[in-house]
Amino acid sequence: MKTLKLSLFGTAAAVVAIGLGANAYAFHSGGVAECDGCHSMHTPAAGGSFLLQGSDQSSTCLNCHEHAGDTGPSSYHISTAETQLGAGVSPLQRTPGGDFAWLKKTYSYLDRSGATVTEDGQVHGHNIVAADQGYAADSVNTTAPGGTFPASQLACNSCHDPHNPNRRGVDGNISRTGAPIVRSGSYNNSVAPVAGQAVGAFRLLAGAGYTKGSVTFLGNPAAVTPSSYNRTEATTQTRTAYGVSTSGGHETWGQWCSTCHPDMHSTGNYAHPIDQGMGSSLAANYQTYVASGNMTGSSATSFTSLVPFAQNTGDYATLALSAQNNNSVLTGPGSTDQVMCLSCHRAHASGFAEMLRWNNEYEFLTINGAYIGSDNSTSGNAHLGRTSAEWQSAYYDRPATTFATYQRVLCNKCHAKD
């Protein structure tokens, strides 16, 4: 009781000391942030640019978006500091986009012929250049796969517009000018704009007219995410609700990604379709697929964030209803809902090659009810140098029991060939 009283006294004293005010804590608040968070007007870096004080743009972003000392998913952090990345330790953040620190996780293992193979960390995601935090350009893909954007210029601001003027007005359209941006528009609890107000574009993503080097974005993709999005999915999933819209300043997710990767999915290329309705057959597979061999599921409980899809709507209120982190909305796709790049890939990085959402380098994700892993004797050489715990981290902490005892790759969520 004594300690509680002291604590209460502390609270009261603090309020008196610092005063009552109406501070808005969020830094970006849906648009251009406080200038002093990124630029230092009177102490520019030696050799720096734009009065930024980081070595480069991404280093500046990671000043806040990486935090040494985290013990798990925390706040708006999208990178685990190197100081916490020892051997056998996985990155900590669990944002839908993924933790960039997977780029620093290099694994060695014996392949099926017994030869030593090294899986370089840089295959795990978008290799942003952030010298202060130890991120370097992709040394293999010197330009964006399927495009010409130089790897040496890849930075957070290649995809996110830090000064983002794109705003979603009361009519749902996105424009670069108009009513003032009053708050973020990314979250399921973001209040919809009223007349005379606008909210920010999803995740400050680049929109129409934003040019980096030789590429120019043509619109913003639609989506809404839960307000608490950086969290373990051990018990409940984090569902970002991706949408489909090509009007009012929007473009589809596939179109948006193809700004830098135009040849990955352009017409005539022999590639997996995107931005297409799933059709009744694949949608039915998705709805009934529970695990390898188990097709007893129903639409209402079929969603998995390991294979998200784009709902065929550009209505943000509808998307907000789906954007939950408590398993309250696990509805699967209808036939007009679409497959997109993010159905299989994470946007930042993942624990798997090609920033996939699951391991596609072996038939099974689990063997005998456990994750493949160097500590699972039945895995043979299939563990790819990871322990079972590291695999579990890459699946956002889902227990192996989420899957079949011999779970095959998640292409089968739509194609059901297992």
Binding site: D36, T43, N63, H67, G72, G86, D132
Partner: protein, 315 residues
């Protein structure tokens, strides 16, 4: 007569004003921070980015934790011992030395923080369990630990809570920092706490970068804040840790400005030092600060710049 009196009063006021101004300038002129060296092992200066720091003020030894390895440096900044890389204790987050010379580790294992007492070689002796935690702190999971004057100061950066405990883990007092701040519609995850330190008066010092503010939390629970956003000297860009030296000055790391900003005990700006660059006294992304009993300031940095050590002087 009356005119003379007014003249005298004017002279006195002018003199006092000059005295006050010159005192301020004198303070600004007397504080010095000289780069001494970087923490090193026998291969040269450490080439790590950031990491967790603590000092044993009694022995002026420094503990630096990086990727689960606890490295101990002597008073000259040379590594003399290391332990803890086997993950058996979990992820080691912090180290402190108690009054008996035993090492106390803060580790994170299976989703919970644990405090482990070790001998001077880092061999575990037993767990120190937090006891008598009030209901509001029942799920408290520490991510940083500071030992001072026989007390353990624990911070949970994700929960934005602080707990002060006896050396045996008995709860003394706790603070929910988020609830102590005036706010409107934002969530706990919208702010970050810097690392904490504890000054000679047992105030807890920390910053909240997104608020461009530094905070001094007294043992009585009085929270004082200072700081204004800006790039000009004395203003805050993206602030990191804060410490207090033997003179009561407050030193605040600014990651974006790549400088350490110094304020006197009355929170008047004194000077800045460091700044981005390749010279030994420059800093790149300074984040955490600790200070030993000889006013030696240890600064963690990015870009594999290791830990820079500065001698503070006041002559």
């Amino acid at each position: 007569m009356k005119a003379n009196a007014i003249k005298h009063i004017r002279i006195i006021i002018l003199s006092l004003s000059l005295l006050i101004v010159s005192a301020g300038m004198s303070m600004a002129g007397t504080f010095k921070a000289s780069h001494l060296y970087n923490l090193s092992d026998f291969t040269g200066p450490l080439t790590y980015s950031w990491g967790a720091l603590s000092v044993d003020a009694t022995r002026n030894e420094v503990y630096f934790i990086y990727q689960n390895l606890v490295k101990v440096f002597n008073e000259n900044g040379m590594e003399i011992f290391q332990f803890g890389d086997d993950l058996q204790l979990g992820q080691v987050l912090g180290a402190a030395v108690d009054k008996n010379g035993d090492i106390v580790l803060l580790a994170y294992l299976e989703g919970r923080s644990t405090i482990i007492k070790c001998n001077y070689r880092g061999e575990p002796l037993g767990e120190i369990k937090l006891q008598r935690l009030p209901k509001d702190f029942a799920d408290f999971n520490a991510s940083q630990m500071v030992s001072r004057d026989g007390l353990l100061y624990l911070a949970s950066h994700s929960e934005k809570k602080l707990v002060v405990a006896e050396a045996d883990g008995t709860f003394v007092r706790g603070y929910d920092v988020f609830d102590m701040l005036p706010h409107m519609d934002k969530e706990r995850n919208d702010i970050d706490l810097s690392t904490i330190s504890v000054d000679q008066h047992n105030n807890i010092l920390f910053t909240i970068p997104v608020l461009f503010s530094a905070f001094i939390l007294s043992p009585e629970g009085k929270l004082t804040s200072f700081g204004r956003p800006g790039g000009a000297p004395g203003r805050f860009n993206v602030v990191g840790g804060m410490v207090s030296d033997s003179q009561g000055n407050y030193l605040v790391a600014d990651m974006l400005k790549s400088a350490v900003i110094v304020f006197d005990k009355d929170l008047n700006f004194v000077k800045e030092f460091g700044y981005r660059g390749a010279q030994p006294g420059n800093l790149i992304g300074p984040r955490d600060l600790v200070i030993d009993g000889r006013d030696r300031l240890y600064v963690t940095q990015g870009r594999a710049r290791g830990v820079s050590v500065f001698q503070l002087a006041y002559d």
